[in-house]
């Protein structure tokens, strides 16, 4: 049963990543693109977690944790750059 749930989860996350990519390409505002990238990072973390469950291997969670941190820093840095023209003043 868990196997079917994992297949369903991968299918749903593929659709979600496709929808995020559409918003990333469409825009129209730069904030939309940042938000789409942020959501893509969230969905990528979900994919990594699901891979960890599918392979019954808990080494993948370090990658998920690192991706969560890097995604947050990237989002804030891009927003800060747009707001102030500089990341660290």
């Amino acid at each position: 049963m868990i196997g079917y749930a994992i297949i369903f989860g991968f299918a749903c996350l593929t659709v979600a990543l496709g929808l995020n990519l559409w918003r990333l390409l469409k825009g129209p505002e730069v904030g939309d693109r940042i938000l789409a990238l942020d959501t893509m990072v969230i969905n990528a973390i979900a994919v990594i977690v699901l891979i960890g469950v599918a392979t019954a291997n808990d080494t993948y969670f370090e990658a998920a944790l690192l991706l969560a941190m890097v995604g947050f820093v990237g989002t804030v840095a891009y927003c800060k750059f747009l707001l102030r023209g500089d990341i660290i003043e």
């Binding site: 868990i2 989860g9 904030g31 940042i34 959501t39 469950v53 019954a56 969560a68 804030v76």
Partner: protein
């Protein structure tokens, strides 16, 4: 005696399916909602319920199926719950600065533009953080 393994398997599958469904709902909201301030609403569901459900499912899977206790998932969800409002706030600020600079592609939501604060003051996000720094670079 009820089989604990079957209950655990049902719970894990339900949590993974719930998380996947909410991930799709959040991304669908990101595509369908008309303005950025409304679009901010969609992915929060993907973050909290979607990824949260999957992480709890993963904790249960490693506990009941593999017999190891792993707390990495809780660390990830804690980190995401702390950082999600901060990034949403920054994106909303970018939107406000775009509104102020009258950029052509920036449209305000159904509530319209935020009203000016009382008196001679200015919204905090428009002010310069330190002396001798430019007020806002988004208008250039």
């Amino acid at each position: 005696m009820i089989d604990l393994g079957l209950i655990a398997e049902i719970a894990i599958s339900a949590l993974i399916v719930l998380g996947a469904v909410f991930a799709v709902v959040g991304s669908w909201g990101l595509v369908r909602l008309p303005t950025l301030m409304e679009r901010l609403h969609g992915p929060t569901k993907a973050t909290t319920l979607g990824l949260g459900g999957m992480l709890v499912g993963s904790v249960l899977f490693f506990q009941f199926d593999q017999g190891v206790w792993s707390a990495h998932e809780l660390l990830i969800s804690l980190f995401l719950f702390i950082t999600a409002p901060i990034s949403a706030n920054m994106i909303a600020k970018v939107h406000l600065h775009g509104l102020r600079a009258r950029k052509a592609e920036t449209r305000s939501g159904p509530a319209g533009e935020p009203p000016a604060p009382p008196g001679d003051s200015e919204w905090a996000t428009y002010e310069a953080p330190h002396r001798n720094t430019p007020v806002s670079t988004s208008e250039q």
